[in-house]
Amino acid sequence: MNPSEVAAATEGGAVVLDLRPPRPFATEHLPGALTMQFNRADLADRAELMLPQELRLVVHAEPEPIAKVAVEILLDAGFDVLGHLEGGLKAWRVEGRPTETLPLIDVDDLHGSLAAYTVVDAREGFEYRHAHIEGAVLFPPGEAWERADELPARTPLAVVCGDQTRSAYVASILRRRGCDAVLVMGGMVDWLERGYPIERAAA
């Protein structure tokens, strides 16, 4: 699909699924895009776990061979996929179309201004119970689409997971819903490595 076809599709309610790594996604992506990790082995499983089947999807991945394979995998898994963005972000930008960013912070930033954020923990319950940041809201990626409206729209949300894979997905959903979400790069692995305080069990 060329950029104008993608734009028309999203105006008609289709959602862009961005399969690039978290950093390039955060730097610049198509408006309203969701992001997820690409991997031939388990993209289908992860999409089934995390994405509602009723979404109509347009894939954005770079370079192009990844996008083509991803479209096939998602179609085989029964998703309604319209195609992929040909020419990637470059083609989109050439036409002067709008893009969005996802703000990134690291664990030191988060630790330094913890009071300013509601921490959203995009891991599973067993991981959360083992160790989480005090006051963090448990928010597994499989529930994120359904539960996105539970979170305060006006408070900044800092989204964490083990690294920044699941948290990028959850942050992209929250931003699509209009929340002020930032992605914490390095996640709980970095947080624990720094020896920052944690809570165990509960929730």
Partner: protein, 267 residues
Amino acid sequence: MIFKQFRYEPLFQASYLLGCSRAREGFVVDPIADLGLDFYVLEAADQGLDIVGVLETHVHADFVSCARELAEMTGAPHYLHEAAEGLVRYEFTPFGDGETLSVGQIDVQAIHTPGHTPEHTCFLVTDHARSDEPWAVLTGDSLFVGDVGRPDLLVGDQALDVFGETERAELQFRSIREELFTLPDHVEVFPNHYGGSTCGGVNMSGKASSTISFERRFNLALSQPDAAAFASFVRETAKPFPDNYQWIKSYNLGLITKDELEGARRA
């Protein structure tokens, strides 16, 4: 660290993907066109790695490189040793001896090891997440498992034939002895070829990795007492030349187009 060796069995060729699993960035080393661009792009994507550099140990003579195309597709620089300047007819990003390229906690240091070709370089890999000591070395066509890269594949291109064959063999001998065999014992060796590859002699092992200490003790070519003995040993144990190597080398140097290469192969 993410470290993958890809083997293309028909040519006994090994290429590599290495990167930092935390930084999610990686390098591809010595990609081969027979596996194809999609192969490398998808393998890197499966590991969650963005390809941020395409490195070559040298300009190859026995297989068609896809480093230029892979660099273009990914937007990553194509790195070759600076001695390739003036030899190749395309743009690349030069590095010097001892220079280090990094992704996250992984360092890749260039060790210039001329002999097989003038620009030949090995890549010393350190994963600082494990240790500040090097872990592995990608030896290209200098040190093979059980053998060495042949110093006589420049013939097809007279412009490159700057040293005589014996001089190049001596250079290869010194490069390996002084630059590679001085590395710590535990350093793993990952060559560009193995087994039946015609880039080395009859003693090449089918095993596609080794260690510095094992090769220092048991590599027959390097057990020769001096450079002259090494040169004759290499000549005597050489295999036949690789198919079409002059044409392949010319293509990899950017002297002829892919169509010209295909035409020459058909003729």
